[in-house]
């Protein structure tokens, strides 16, 4: 399968990129999800707008309350600890188990969120962490919490002429603990069930997430939510319940 013919542009900054998107261009980051869709001709855009050369999208910055990661930060950069990890190693662990190294070298945190594959890792992990999407559009900038940004199966609160610029991840206290467990048929495959959990005794915070459902991940604000209704059928329900149970066990 070969893609239809398309043009290619490499904008220098966000405003140039927004202009190209406004003219019908399609944003391209690591192309790990976009590439197969192009080759299968599921999408046939006239123009690809390569975001990887926009400095702002590769920026990382940290404050005492949060860390910001530009949308084009790759899974591999996170895995290798080349960017700050506000979770003291949790994000590195999540990143290191996404797909295979070749995919991680190119795939980006922003691309993963915008693509919003229910089985992808960042939509669940960053929902658990309470991250915020920072968005730029023709009318200016806006922010959306992840639990509202991801609206469904491959669906996000982002218009075709908008860009995800960065994600902002809140920092937690030193006492915070994190757990993540996913079930994959084989190493590097998209998971069939995801469970995530965190507790921060100092901030009196408990959160859990269940992912790889038919749509957006489900967030809960306690460690022992009733998830018996999540999943397509008996097997799927059991897998999700087990994933959550095992994620919570990791907090110990």
């Amino acid at each position: 399968m070969k893609a239809c013919a398309f043009d290619y542009a490499r904008p220098k900054d966000v405003s140039e990129a927004l202009k190209l998107l406004g003219e019908g261009g399609k944003a391209a980051a690591g192309t790990q999800s976009l590439g197969p869709m192009l080759n299968l001709r599921v999408i046939q855009p006239p123009l690809l707008v390569d975001l990887r050369f926009i400095p702002e999208l590769k920026d990382v910055s940290g404050k005492s309350e949060y860390t910001m990661l530009g949308a084009c930060v790759t899974h591999a950069q996170i895995e290798d600890g080349r960017v700050p990890d506000p979770t003291g190693g949790f994000m590195r662990e999540v990143a290191s188990n996404i797909a295979y190294r070749a995919v991680r070298n190119r795939g980006t945190i922003g691309g993963s969120l915008v693509h919003a594959d229910p089985a992808a890792d960042w939509p669940s992990a960053l929902t658990l962490l309470g991250a915020t999407a920072l968005i730029a559009g023709p009318g200016g900038r806006r922010e959306v919490g992840l639990e509202r940004f991801i609206t469904g199966l491959f669906e996000v609160d982002l218009k075709e002429n908008e860009l995800l610029v960065a994600v902002r991840i809140p920092k937690r206290s030193k006492a915070a603990r994190f757990g993540y467990w996913k079930f994959c048929r084989k190493a590097g495959e998209f998971p069939q069930a995801i469970g995530g959990a965190l507790t921060d005794p100092e901030r009196k915070e408990s959160r859990t997430v269940v992912g790889a459902l038919g749509g957006a991940p489900r967030l809960f604000l306690d460690l022992n939510p009733d998830v018996s209704s999540l999943g397509k059928d008996a097997y799927d329900k059991q897998l999700h319940a087990v994933a959550l149970k095992r994620a919570v066990e990791k907090l110990k």
């Binding site: 070969k2 001709r41 048929r185 190493a187 008996a234």
Partner: protein, 774 residues
């Protein structure tokens, strides 16, 4: 054994280029002015073609005037013929069937063209399930048949006494999923019509190039001399590359029609959805045994889903016909009955995949043996030991008249039991009996007929019957040995092993041997590389040809050294008088023969340093290599995940020409077997749509899923082959599904679960546990 000859762990000569990325595969070939082809494929499993709206550059069946459909008939009584049109006409019978051919400067543009072709199809009910296809057909795949049965066969016997009186009677339904061969390199064709020679020159990813040529000639209606098939480096075949594809016939017609070279490179989606299907079996099987676990008889009804067409050259009935002849495995029994059906469905034709019918047969048989063991509360390996053919009985003719040539089957089981550690595993199980991570132990043993020849194959009357194998050998003027054989390597390392054979016979250094294969223009006819036959057959032919050259080298050297030829030996690249330092190098002998013939007397035999010689095994019913696989697994009862903790293979391939290459064959085959056991499955929906059309859905095991495999070799020489070697190429892929399923069942038996369907996916395991709990 010499350092470099038969028996040496010689590093592979071909790895010099493969490991540096310098292999040359079909897709690396560029011909000037070459055009690319993309196919319009049927989106439906079963439909009547009412119209095809084409643009310039698009060809359909009506354009291919004079091209014959692919016919692969068997002469077995009752076989129904199917014609596989190279481009569909009238009906389409599987998703992915070729309907039109689109040609353009690049593949992407050819796909653009394909997107614009409009098909008017009238959908018909699809025949999807083989049992339904046979018993209550929703439609006929081939209307003129009146049913969906390519062939029915029966090995009859009366088991009524056993049914009444046996101490153990076990009956099961066993199923193996439809699967996919997944060579790293897909199929591909680059071809052109050479006007000067009046010859089609086709580069194609093939493991049996002479058979492709024969099939092409039949479809194109031209003589075989007008076709040259060249298979360059081939990146894995496993059987898939032994098949004549309609794509090859189309491209052959097209390059001649256009007067331009044409190319088609299969992509993974085409391969998954339309082409490389295999393995789908169904068994309704009963096993009878006495109280000591002695097997008394087997009664089986086996159905094979053969797909829509009979593929060239192995036909639609090879699998099922083999099922009935090999189901008794390596065991002794008194009674055996087996009925088989090769059933047509609206799916891709089933093709022979590494191990061919044996993988399914071993799964069915070995699951039954374990069921007997559980019933009698015996150790599974003890039941096997009670029933295997004993070494003192070899050679042994079994109940289906298979002639086992040699070996010690029980010893393989004993060694495997020791290596895997039966007692340790049993005590581990006792300790962990309440855990959600349950440990299981599984065995499987099989014997594998390989290099079977004329006497086995002629009875099936398919387009290809193996006969005698040839090698053309030539010592060049500088003393390099050229070997030409008609078999073709698709990963087996024949450039190395054939050179080792030449080293043993002729003393020539393997570095001074060039193997030329994969080109019908310059190699002797051969049915090619299939059935684990190349080391026995081509290896035998290489040895015979080297014998002839050896005699001639000695005759020339005898004249030059003024001794008798009997007093000479060949070693270390030279011909010598033993015990002296007198002798000549092979290059000196060759130099005199070609460049200084004046030094030779007039009465020298003018036959020269070039010879074609042939080989056929003394007994051509084949060699029987065998292996016992044993594995220890952990099953997560909450998720259904299976982890392979240990894997042992004890195998006997007779004399191993290159034990390192054999290890590689065992590892690779076992990896594929792990895929069959746990991952690989091509499901279809009710309309016959294949549901795993990319590698995101069709799961292959990768490095993380394949355990470290511990291999122990036994070496019982075959009495019938040149060096005692046996075919060993396929074995690795035969036993793993059975061994792993037995281990999972061993782990889950205390919970009341027995799974009889492959692959053993997490879903199947958890659902079986849920059902058992109810």
């Amino acid at each position: 054994m010499t350092q470099k000859g038969v028996g040496a762990r010689l590093p592979r000569k071909e790895d010099k280029r493969f490991l540096r990325g310098q292999g040359e595969f079909v897709a690396n070939i560029r011909l000037a002015g070459m055009l690319d082809v993309a196919f319009v494929r049927s989106p439906m499993a079963h439909a009547r073609i009412k119209g095809i709206k084409k643009l310039p550059g698009v060809f359909s069946a009506e354009d291919l005037k004079g091209v014959q459909p692919i016919r692969a008939n068997s002469s077995l009584k009752g076989f129904k013929s199917s014609e596989q049109p190279v481009l569909a006409s009238g009906k389409v019978r599987q998703v992915g069937e070729l309907v039109a051919m689109c040609v353009a400067a690049t593949r992407a543009e050819a796909e653009d063209l394909a997107d614009q072709v409009e098909l008017d199809l009238e959908e018909l009910p699809a025949v999807v399930d083989m049992i339904e296809a046979r018993t209550k057909p929703p439609a006929f795949v081939h209307d003129e048949w009146g049913d969906n049965i390519f062939l029915e066969s029966l090995v009859d016997d009366d088991l009524s006494a056993l049914e009444k009186n046996s101490f153990v009677k076990i009956r099961r339904t066993i199923r193996t999923a439809r699967q996919h061969m997944s060579p790293m390199e897909g199929r591909g064709v680059v071809c052109e019509w050479n006007k000067r020679l009046g010859q089609l020159v086709m580069h194609t990813a093939a493991q049996m190039p002479h058979i492709n040529r024969a099939g092409l000639a039949e479809c194109l209606g031209i003589d075989q001399g007008a076709i040259r098939v060249i298979a360059p480096d081939v990146g894995g075949g496993f059987g898939y590359k032994g098949i004549l594809l309609p794509e090859e016939v189309c491209l052959a017609w097209l390059c001649r029609h256009l007067g331009r070279p044409t190319r088609w490179i299969e992509d993974r989606r085409e391969q998954l959805s339309a082409n490389a299907n295999c393995r789908e079996h169904h068994y309704d099987i009963s096993m009878y045994a006495d109280a000591k676990g002695r097997l008394l008889g087997i009664d089986c009804e086996a159905t094979v889903d053969s797909g829509a067409y009979s593929s060239y050259p192995f036909s639609a009935c090879l699998e099922a016909a083999q099922v009935s002849s090999i189901l008794p495995g390596p065991y002794k029994m008194e009674r055996y009955r087996c009925r088989t059906w090769s059933v047509a469905t609206n799916k891709a034709p089933i093709l022979p995949y590494r191990g061919v019918a044996r993988t399914g047969v071993c799964f069915a048989l070995e699951l039954m043996v374990d069921a007997v063991a559980r019933e009698l509360k015996m150790e599974p390996h003890e039941v096997r030991l009670a029933n295997l053919v004993q070494p003192g009985e070899m050679p042994y003719n079994n109940i289906t008249k298979k002639h086992f040539d040699s070996g010690d089957y029980p010893e393989a089981v004993r060694r495997a039991a020791k290596l895997i550690g039966v007692e340790e595993i049993r005590s581990l199980q006792r300790q962990n009996k309440d855990s959600t991570r349950r440990i299981g132990l599984g065995f499987a043993i099989f014997c594998e007929q390989a290099a079977h020849g004329t006497s086995v194959y002629h009875g099936w009357g398919i387009p290809m019957v193996p006969g005698h194998e040839q090698c053309a050998a030539r010592l060049t003027p500088d003393g390099v040995l050229e070997l030409r054989i008609g078999a073709h390597s698709h990963g087996q390392g024949m450039e190395t092993t054939m050179a080792q054979v030449a080293n043993t016979v002729l003393g020539v250094d393997p570095d001074n041997v060039r193997l030329i294969h994969g080109d019908t223009g310059v190699t002797p006819y051969s049915t090619g590389t299939w059935g684990s036959r190349s080391m026995v057959m081509s290896g035998g032919a290489v040895a015979t040809a080297c014998d002839v050259i050896a005699g001639r080298v000695k005759a020339i050297a005898a004249k030059l050294l003024e001794v008798s030829a009997q007093d000479l030996i060949l070693e270390n690249n030279s011909v010598k008088i033993p015990g002296t330092d007198r002798g000549l190098s092979l290059s000196e002998v060759a130099h005199v023969w070609y460049r200084k013939p004046q030094l030779l007397p007039a009465d020298i035999d003018p036959a020269g340093l070039e010879a074609t010689a042939g080989y056929k095994a003394k007994v051509d019913t084949g060699t029987f290599s065998y292996a016992c696989h044993a594995t220890k697994v952990a099953v997560d009862t909450e998720t259904g995940a299976v982890e392979i903790l240990d894997y042992v293979v004890v195998e006997d391939g007779g004399v191993l020409v290159n034990p390192m290459i054999v290890d590689g064959q065992v590892y690779g085959g076992t990896a594929q077997g792990v895929g069959t056991a746990l991952y690989e499955e091509m499901p279809f929906d009710a309309q016959g749509q294949p549901l795993a059309t990319t590698l995101a859905d069709y799961l292959l095991p990768s490095a993380t899923e394949v355990p470290s495999i511990r291999v122990d070799h036994m070496e019982t020489p075959s009495p019938y082959t040149r060096f005692g070697q046996k075919g060993i190429g396929e074995g690795g892929a035969i036993a793993p599904p059975a061994a792993i399923a037995n281990a999972v069942n061993d782990a889950l038996a205390p919970l009341g679960v027995e799974i009889t369907e492959s692959p053993l996916t997490p879903r199947r395991i958890v659902e079986a546990l849920m059902k058992a709990r109810k």
